[in-house]
């Protein structure tokens, strides 16, 4: 049986030359993403904004959204959003946080239950009070920070500081672009989004580390090869692996996206974007060439000479 070779052996793409395109492109995309965040905003879910989310399924036939909206708007709960969710008889109801603290949220739920009556099945009710939503947001942000710093420290131990810094720049770039994507698509930004961001962080780094590992190995082996050539060789050598891995992960994510249901839809969509599109692009076109600017490999001979000296003495 002839096996599938998606990437031919011994590719020699000049990835480093693309840095003149990829760096400005990434800068532009990052600026767009940041502007999206500031001017278009994120669609904060109730985890971070507080409020009530109710998913109901009508028992007889498709839901009459207009009538439901009318009866819910009459409750005086402020803005009530209704949205068909996956199926015509499935409705997602969002009610903004009520003024008056935690007890007021519970009162709102009771009102909604009263207004909708017995004709619907309650599939999901989530109520997040103002105290909890504030905490969840700060935990989420702290969590992202801690993860970035933790990974940075680990990389710093395992590699030289330039690698750690390069990986972090690549990482922040991934996160910024993904947040831009979330802003653009208006997916709910909630705790699962933070989970998605952290996974993207871990996964994209996974990819970067694989290439960095190879670069480090090449640095030891070829002491006189010019940096761009060395980086190109490293990326090319790991290219087949990158492609195969990303295909398998995409297949797994695709299954989740298609059959995983509405509950994790935005989660998998975000992950698909972050892991597959951005993560791959970043490790090849950003994380690797940035090492040139961070001065990896300059003075290699001197460094290795000292290392050799120490070894001799030891």
């Amino acid at each position: 049986m002839r096996l599938l070779r998606i990437v031919p052996d011994n590719t020699k793409f000049d990835f480093m030359r693309f840095r003149r395109v990829s760096f400005p492109l990434s800068a532009l995309l990052s600026i767009i993403a940041i502007s999206l965040y500031f001017f278009h905003g994120l669609n904060f879910g109730i985890d971070f904004k507080g409020g009530t989310l109710v998913e109901v399924q009508t028992k007889a036939g498709p839901a009459d959204l207009a009538r439901m909206r009318a009866s819910l708007n009459a409750l005086g709960l402020g803005e009530v959003q209704l949205q068909e969710f996956g199926a015509p008889n499935d409705v997602l109801i969002r009610v903004a946080e009520q003024p008056g603290g935690d007890a007021a949220q519970q009162a709102a739920v009771a009102k909604i239950r009263n207004a909708l009556g017995e004709n619907v099945e309650y599939r999901r009710v989530e109520v997040v009070g103002p105290r909890v939503s504030g905490e969840l947001l700060s935990y989420g942000i702290i969590g992202l920070m801690v993860a970035i710093i933790g990974i940075l420290v680990y990389l710093w131990f395992r590699f030289e500081w330039q690698f750690a810094l390069g990986a972090m720049i690549a990482n922040v770039h991934d996160l910024v672009l993904t947040i831009g994507f979330m802003s653009l698509t208006r997916v709910d930004f909630d705790l699962t989004s933070i989970a998605a961001l952290l996974t993207i962080l871990g996964y994209s780094l996974n990819d970067t580390v694989v290439i960095y590992d190879r670069i480090r190995e090449m640095l030891r082996r070829y002491k006189r090869m010019p940096m761009p050539d060395l980086l190109n060789a490293s990326v090319n050598q790991t290219l087949s692996r990158s492609v195969v891995t990303h295909l398998t992960v995409s297949l797994a994510l695709l299954a989740l996206l298609l059959f995983g249901g509405q509950a994790i839809h935005s989660f998998t969509a975000t992950m698909m974007f972050g892991v597959v599109l951005v993560g791959t692009y970043t490790s090849v076109f950003i994380a690797s060439p940035i090492l040139i600017y961070l001065g990896v490999g300059t003075g290699r001979d001197a460094l290795s000479a000292t290392a050799k000296d120490e070894k001799d003495r030891g």
Partner: protein
């Protein structure tokens, strides 16, 4: 890299086998598993998002605790100064303090000395730090007693402990399976009740303090007079419940008998009106007090007060000596039953507020399980086929390793009695991707080594040894992210962190041992002349 001593190979296979075995109880009917010893019964718990149920986070009302503490302190100050016969004016609660002005300057020092006795060292390890419950200071003849923050914190902590016991009793009355009730942080209680379709009743049971008092109605003042400002200092105005929430009653502040003196409460029916009622029974002390009071007040009305609302205010027709009584007050069968539950369970030391609620109905849970299964099967099938097409025989090895990997994930999840959520299933699917990646890294490296001109066995050996360092590095970074997620996440998200984290551990284990072992045995068996990848 390809040489394994016999005992090492045995240890690897045994470890993998035992871990996989722990997954077995999940796939057997519980009737079979129940007869096994306890340690073998460990299994994966389905999260509330999969089996349906309610997650309710309650917070102790810290302000209420503080207020109660300050009022008790004010009463203590009054008592101490009276006993010491020290004249005072303006005894008030202000902010976090109780302030009192001593009439004569000469008595400030003795007053201070007496009031300092109210301050106690804080118990537990805080006591060692020399912290006390009160800061007592004076400014001229003004004495200020401030309740310290650690004292409030300690009180809140106690309130949470007491509340947990009471909530357990209340929730158990609902007859649900395996409710989880635990402390969260200093002032919170998490209640998780699986399989509950409608949490309304649960919330009603949790939301009530259930503080029951028996008090006399002051008949010297009519409610109208009292509302106009003629309220005697030892009285207060409380309102009725439900439809009577506008009906005012003038009650003495003094509590005759409280709910703490009840030993039992049961729902029943009034034999005359056949209305639902709650029958209760006092303990000895309560019965004696109640008998005394009813003897002295025949013909006068008294009030049964629940959470500062008057349930009913019957007239005492005759002394009640048996220590048993009946509460009637427009109950339904359900509300009489609930009140009986609340009274039996006891009153909460402080009001609880629901600050977060997440309820998933059983329908959505079942749908999520179905979607989770379908997507993992499809995902796994696509990955398996892709690996076979790309790497042939080695792809098969990889698939076997990934299957063992997933079985081990379930084994470890069972061993930890971990919770599986829908995002958790996504974590497993993602792990399949990551697990495959470790094989891809190895195989690509072997391909490279072959191209570099090594002999097959050499290439395989070098491929493994070089790829493993990379696998470790790349997985540790993802593991850090999973660990952080575990600490910050709750519920479903935490489930994702758990499966992702465990998945990384099993992935590294299988890559380092299991896959290597398979390939090593294959090499020994076939002595390949060329590497088939």
């Amino acid at each position: 890299m390809l040489y394994f001593t016999r005992w090492k190979a045995a240890a690897i296979l045994l470890t993998a086998f035992i871990v996989c075995l722990f997954a077995v109880p999940n796939f057997l009917p519980s009737a079979v598993v129940d007869s096994w010893p306890k340690w073998a019964q460990r299994h994966v718990v389905l999260g509330l998002d999969l089996q349906g149920g309610s997650h309710i986070l309650l917070a102790v009302d810290t302000n209420a605790v503080r207020k109660e503490k300050l009022e008790a302190l004010r009463d203590d100050v009054r008592r101490v100064l009276r006993e010491a016969r020290i004249g005072y004016t303006g005894l008030v609660v202000r902010g976090n303090s109780v302030e009192v002005r001593i009439r004569e300057a000469g008595q400030v020092d003795p007053a201070l000395a007496k009031l300092r006795e109210l301050s106690q060292p804080l118990g537990g390890f805080l006591g060692a730090s020399g912290q006390r419950t009160l800061d007592v200071g004076s400014d001229g003849n003004l004495i200020r007693l401030t309740v310290t923050d650690p004292a409030i914190l300690e009180r809140v902590r106690q309130a949470v402990d007491q509340s947990i016991q009471i909530i357990e009793r209340r929730v158990n009355e609902l007859g649900t399976v395996e409710p989880l009730i635990q402390r969260e942080g200093t002032d919170r209680i998490l209640v998780q009740v699986p399989g509950l379709q409608d949490p309304t009743r649960l919330k009603e049971l949790l939301g009530k303090t259930a503080k029951l008092d028996f008090r006399m109605v002051d008949t010297n003042v009519s409610p109208e007079q009292a509302l106009q400002g003629n309220l005697p200092p030892d009285d207060e105005i409380l309102y009725g419940t439900g439809a009577e929430s506008k009906v005012p009653y003038v009650l003495e502040k003094r509590v005759l008998v409280s709910g703490a003196d009840l030993t039992d409460a049961q729902p029943g029916f009034d034999p005359r009106t056949s209305e639902p009622v709650v029958n209760f029974r006092f303990n000895t002390a309560g019965a004696r007090k109640f008998a005394e009071v009813t003897q002295q007040n025949v013909g006068k009305p008294f009030a049964i007060v629940l959470d500062n609302q008057v349930i009913s205010a019957p007239v005492i027709r005759e002394p009640i000596l048996g220590g048993a009584g009946q509460i009637s007050g427009h109950f339904t069968v359900q509300s009489a039953n609930d009140l009986a539950i609340l009274l039996r369970a006891g009153a909460l030391p402080a009001p609880l507020t629901i600050i977060e609620e997440r309820t998933v109905g059983p329908g959505l849970g079942a749908d999520s399980i179905a979607q989770g299964k379908l997507s993992s099967y499809v995902g796994a099938a696509m990955v398996v086929i892709f690996m076979l097409v790309t790497y042939g025989l080695f792809g098969l090895f990889a698939n076997v390793a990934v299957a063992v990997n997933v079985a081990m994930i379930f084994g470890l999840l069972s061993l930890l009695n971990a919770t599986l959520t829908l995002p958790g299933i996504a974590g497993i699917v993602l792990t399949v991707g990551i697990a495959v990646d470790s094989n891809v890294l190895i195989y690509e490296r072997i391909r490279e080594e072959v191209r570099a001109g090594r002999t097959p066995i050499n290439a395989i050996d070098a491929g493994f040894s070089r790829a493993l360092a990379t696998i470790l590095d790349s997985n540790i970074t993802t593991f850090i992210a999973a660990a952080v997620l575990f600490y910050i996440g709750t519920g479903p998200v935490r489930g994702f962190a758990v499966t992702l984290g465990i998945g990384i551990i099993t992935t590294v284990f299988t890559a380092f041992t299991f896959t290597r072992l398979i390939v090593a045995y294959w090499v020994r068996w076939r002595r390949p002349q060329r590497v088939p990848i």
